[in-house]
């Protein structure tokens, strides 16, 4: 039961440090496997969680290390302002402009064809502008959302980060 207590403490520390749930499960699973093997090959089984902390490191220290290593693993975690603020701010107008340019190019091809009348229709222009704004916004939201999810960042992470700096 002492191993269970140690593992519970580790899980609690990992969760407290807001590590991604999948990471927590994997870390706890691997540590459990390590402990099982350790108990099989040594006589420490009955000596308790203190002995485990001596052998493996304390749950608190391990969770601290895990947090530090995870933070260092992802570019998004090391440079969050660049990734989630500067990059979307630059990319959104750039992508919109590119899309509008390509529409203009295609539109100019339509002029002179039987579909040319579409270019001058107000509805078409409105749809085009809407499309040129919605598509890049959606693409960027998906891309950065995926990046944040992979890095294990919660949506309210920027606020947490700011409060961490204030502390």
């Amino acid at each position: 039961m002492n191993a269970q207590r140690w593992l519970l403490e580790l899980r609690a520390e990992l969760v407290r440090r807001k590590l991604p749930p999948l990471y927590v499960e994997r870390m706890v699973g691997e540590m459990e496997d390590h402990i099982v093997q350790l108990q099989k090959e040594t006589v420490m089984g009955s000596k308790g969680s203190d002995r485990l902390s001596e052998q493996l490191g304390s749950p608190r220290q391990l969770a601290h290390d895990a947090r530090r290593e995870l933070d260092g693993s992802y570019f998004a975690r090391r440079h969050p302002l660049l990734v989630f603020l500067a990059m979307p701010t630059l990319l959104l107008p750039l992508l919109t402009a590119l899309l509008l340019l390509s529409f203009t190019f295609v539109g100019s091809w339509f002029v002179g064809t039987s579909l040319g009348y579409l270019n001058s229709s107000q509805g078409f222009c409105f749809a085009l502008w809407g499309f040129a704004f919605i598509v890049p916004t959606t693409l960027l939201a998906l891309a950065f959302g995926r990046s944040a999810r992979r890095a294990g960042l919660h949506w309210c992470w920027p606020l947490a980060r700011i409060s961490h700096h204030v502390d």
Partner: protein
């Protein structure tokens, strides 16, 4: 009771180097790796055994290691192996380590590369 620090300051980067070197010889799971480190270093290095897992996870994220769930010894375990990128990094790390060891040994043996100018 003295709880081992998981990664003493002067050992920064050393577990990583050892993990890469040992995994370049053959794929291993966590516990096996810890035993290999003890065996390979003659038990000289003391560290909290758990500290290797966060390092392994980081190295995997960086593409230096690959991990796969495999049944070993009747249990499903996460087995790590070095990727081609990891082999390249290992070669660079070994070279850097040898330079550092050489430099520190040189200093410990009283060697001086250049004598600093003394203020008159």
């Amino acid at each position: 009771m003295a709880i081992r620090k998981t990664n003493p300051a002067f050992l920064n980067g050393v577990p990583e180097l050892l993990l890469l070197e040992l995994l370049s010889r053959r794929p291993m799971y966590g516990y096996e790796l810890v035993q290999s480190i003890k065996l390979a270093t003659g038990g000289t290095l003391e560290f909290g055994e758990g500290c290797i897992y966060p390092i392994l996870h980081r190295l995997e994220t960086q593409g230096v290691l690959a991990a796969a769930r495999e049944v070993v010894g009747g249990r499903e375990r996460v087995v790590y192996r070095v990727t081609p990128r990891g082999k390249k990094q290992l070669a660079e790390s070994v070279s850097a380590w040898q330079r550092i060891v050489g430099a520190v040994n040189h200093a410990l043996q009283g060697g001086e590369r250049e004598r600093p100018a003394l203020a008159s």
